[in-house]
């Protein structure tokens, strides 16, 4: 009896493992990056695809198509010999004009698609996005851009970003989206800061320096770099009065003092740093000088963050999520009302810097 039953079970298990929708890697075209640009009569999109030849050998290729709809994968399909697969899509790029017009429909499409990973990276380019894609085949790295962003999130000034995070900010009330901003410089791509969005439209961009401030305000800014000018003894050489610091740990504390009618928020930042580079007149063995440095750095950060926050208010963008903060402290809250008072809210900043490691001498 037992034997009689075991066979059908084995057969059923074999059948369950199914062989529908087979995808063999050298019979498909993998899409690695997509770009969207606005042109006169619609949208020009470019795709970076790879043909997998043999182990360690992939051909990268950029294909173009123009259409008046947003997602034009079917049109690209007419250009390739193998079916397109979007499971390995890691990068979406938007041209400057397209980002200014709005990217909502595109990212909503990728939200709905179960095949795209939430770790997909998005980015804005200071000109046509397809120009950046054209550079990638030369590098022979299909994930060049997304790896670059990831590298900079881990070891640089970029805050944590991916499709999920952007959707969180875009759909969440009381916060706005921000994306990395790429620049083309002598034929090289580089990340030049962050593009700030209001709803789904790009409003302005900030430098890598300000990106560090934003990173500090929303998360642990570990491994970010920053240059603080120190006024001090007149130095005979120009441009040496800077301290280059690397953040080891930071934490932002928000306290909402007043909620109604105009919110007042005090932000307390704690930053533990490592000094990378100091002017030669600074004596790091002297306790007194270190204390003095910590103080100057603290007040410099305070000034810069205040400047940064007023820049955000001026542009009416809220990447920090101050609106969300106020929402969490108030019984009734509406995004619309908050938008009106956003420019008027009071923020006071205090920064406490601690130098933990000053290098070898």
């Amino acid at each position: 009896m037992y034997r009689m039953k075991i066979f059908p079970v084995i057969i059923l298990c074999a059948v369950l493992s199914a062989c529908v929708d087979q995808k063999v890697v050298n019979q498909i075209c993998l899409i690695h990056a997509l770009s969207f640009d606005t042109v006169e009569n619609g949208i020009k999109s470019a795709v970076l695809i790879s043909h997998f030849k043999e182990l360690g050998k992939t051909d990268l290729e950029v294909l173009y198509t123009e259409s008046n709809s947003n997602i034009s994968l079917p049109r690209i399909n007419t250009l390739t010999n193998d079916p397109l697969e979007r499971g390995q899509l890691k990068m979406l790029l938007f041209g400057k004009t397209h980002a200014e017009k709005g990217i909502g429909t595109v990212i909503h499409h990728f939200l709905r698609d179960p095949k795209t990973s939430s770790r997909l990276q998005l980015g804005v380019v200071d000109r046509d996005a397809s120009e950046v894609l054209e550079i990638i085949p030369k590098t022979q790295e299909p994930f060049f851009l997304s790896d670059m962003i990831q590298q900079n999130m881990r070891n640089g000034n970029l805050p944590l970003m991916n499709l999920h995070q952007s959707l969180f900010n875009y759909y969440g009330e009381g916060r706005d989206m921000f994306l990395p901003y790429f620049k083309l410089d002598h034929g090289e791509v580089k990340i030049d800061g962050l593009a700030l969005f209001r709803s789904d439209q790009k409003v302005t961009e900030i430098s890598m320096k300000d990106a560090f401030l934003l990173k500090m305000l929303i998360q642990n800014s570990k491994n970010g770099n920053y240059r603080v000018p120190v006024a001090g003894r007149a130095s005979n050489k120009q441009g040496e009065n800077f301290i280059l610091l690397r953040s080891m740990h930071s934490k932002a504390n928000y306290i909402v003092n007043i909620v109604n009618p105009i919110p007042s928020i005090s932000i307390r930042l704690k930053l533990v740093t490592e000094l990378q580079d100091v002017p030669d007149w600074v004596d790091l063995r002297s306790e007194e000088q270190i204390k003095q440095l910590e103080k100057t750095m603290g007040s410099y950060f305070k000034k810069e963050i205040e400047k940064f926050l007023s820049l955000l208010k001026e542009n009416k963008v809220d990447p920090v999520g101050l609106g969300d903060l106020v929402r969490s402290r108030s019984h009734e809250w509406s995004a619309k009302d908050f938008e009106e008072i956003y420019q008027a809210i009071k923020t006071t900043v205090s920064v406490q810097v601690k130098i933990a490691n000053n290098g070898n001498g």
Binding site: P8, L16, D21, Y170
Partner: protein, 363 residues
């Protein structure tokens, strides 16, 4: 009277835990968050707690009902003694159909997940037939094989759910949960109602109670499992609320699966496919349990052999699944099922509880 069920079909009292688990955690756990947040917003975790408490109460009632008679009678016999032969049998038939319908809903929901996430272009019929064969195998093996499958269903989903919830923690925004109370009681109760749909299925206890060795001992295990299942739902819902902003959650149809998309392993770049496949065992156990209960009901009401009624039910499910491909009809059906479940759990069971207690007093 001694237990009428043969000793060799009985299960230990603690094995009620996997049975409760598979019946109370269905496909709904993959997408219940959105509907839950519809009324009470991000206060909906309170609704989960409320629903959990009410289930404890109903569970206590079920045990009282089943114990009011001599040991070893299931709900069909109790119905007959309480409401008379005619009315009792009508009620029994209704309960059988309810369980059968529940199995169909679970089946359809899982097929929908497979179609949406794993194999979009796959035909329904082949996979349905394979699943139906597996279910037939399990249910015809008797109650013990259903329990065994449930046990593996419990194991496999547990080793999946906890790591998942831990791995998404780096993306959690605890601020989302604040302010703690900004929705009205009515909103929270409305959300509790949608939460109830997730818990539905544990009524199968009404049928398998005689199959438990020394049933009285199983009560503490049953309450314990309800407690932990509520806790698990609570953990998932709080995690989801911290993971998505409220506006974002409104756009996402399968939040639990969507959360998996953020996890990236060295070999598996995407875990949701693995998750859905593992989920199969739990779903099969769930469907098998419902169908087993339905067959058991048919046997004690109409003296129909379980094998025959099982075949009829499975063919019925296949036909329903094949002809009602339209997802709007299916959604309407599951809405209908959850409404019936609401009346069944909060209407029928308390009434039966009162009737049996009064009868006991009179005697």
């Amino acid at each position: 009277m001694k237990n009428p069920v043969d000793e060799k079909h009985l299960i230990s009292p603690f094995l009620i835990v996997p049975l409760m688990y598979v019946s109370m955690v269905g496909v709904g756990v993959l997408n219940f968050q959105r509907e839950l947040a519809e009324h009470a917003g991000y206060n909906a975790y309170i609704s989960v707690v409320l629903a959990g408490i009410s289930i404890h109460l109903i569970l206590w009632m079920i045990y009282k009902i089943l114990r009011s008679n001599q040991e070893g009678l299931d709900v069909t016999a109790i119905n007959k003694t309480c409401f008379g032969k005619m009315a009792g049998d009508i009620i029994n038939l209704a309960i059988v159909l309810y369980f059968c319908f529940g199995a169909y809903i679970e089946f359809g929901a899982y097929i929908e997940v497979i179609q949406l996430w794993v194999f979009p272009s796959m035909k329904i019929l082949p996979i349905s037939i394979i699943l139906v064969l597996l279910i037939y195998y399990t249910v015809s093996g008797g109650f013990r094989s259903v329990t065994a499958l449930s046990f593996f269903g419990l194991l496999i989903t547990l080793i999946f759910i906890f790591p998942q919830n831990l791995l998404v923690l780096p993306y959690a925004h605890p601020l989302n949960l604040m302010p703690l109370f900004n929705h009205s009681i009515t909103d929270i109760l409305l959300s509790s109602k949608s939460m109830l749909y997730q818990f539905m299925g544990f009524e199968a206890l009404l049928f398998f109670y005689p199959f438990i060795k020394s049933p009285a001992k199983s009560q503490k295990w049953a309450h314990l499992s309800v407690f932990f299942i509520t806790l698990m739902y609570l953990m998932i819902i709080i995690n989801t609320f911290m993971f998505y902003s409220e506006g974002q959650l409104r756009e996402i149809f399968w939040p639990t699966l969507d959360m998996l998309k953020i996890i990236e392993g060295p070999v598996f770049q995407r875990i949701e496919y693995l998750g859905i496949s593992l989920w199969l065992i739990k779903i099969l156990a769930n469907i098998s349990l419902s169908l087993w209960a339905a067959c058991r009901g048919m046997k004690s009401v109409f003296m129909i052999k379980p094998r025959v009624s099982l075949l009829a039910f499975l063919v019925g499910i296949l036909i329903l699944e094949y002809f009602m491909k339209d997802r709007t009809i299916f959604q309407w059906n599951s809405k209908f099922y959850s409404d019936i479940g609401l009346y069944f759990i909060y209407g029928y069971i308390p009434i039966l509880f009162v009737v049996t207690q009064v009868r006991k007093k009179l005697e």
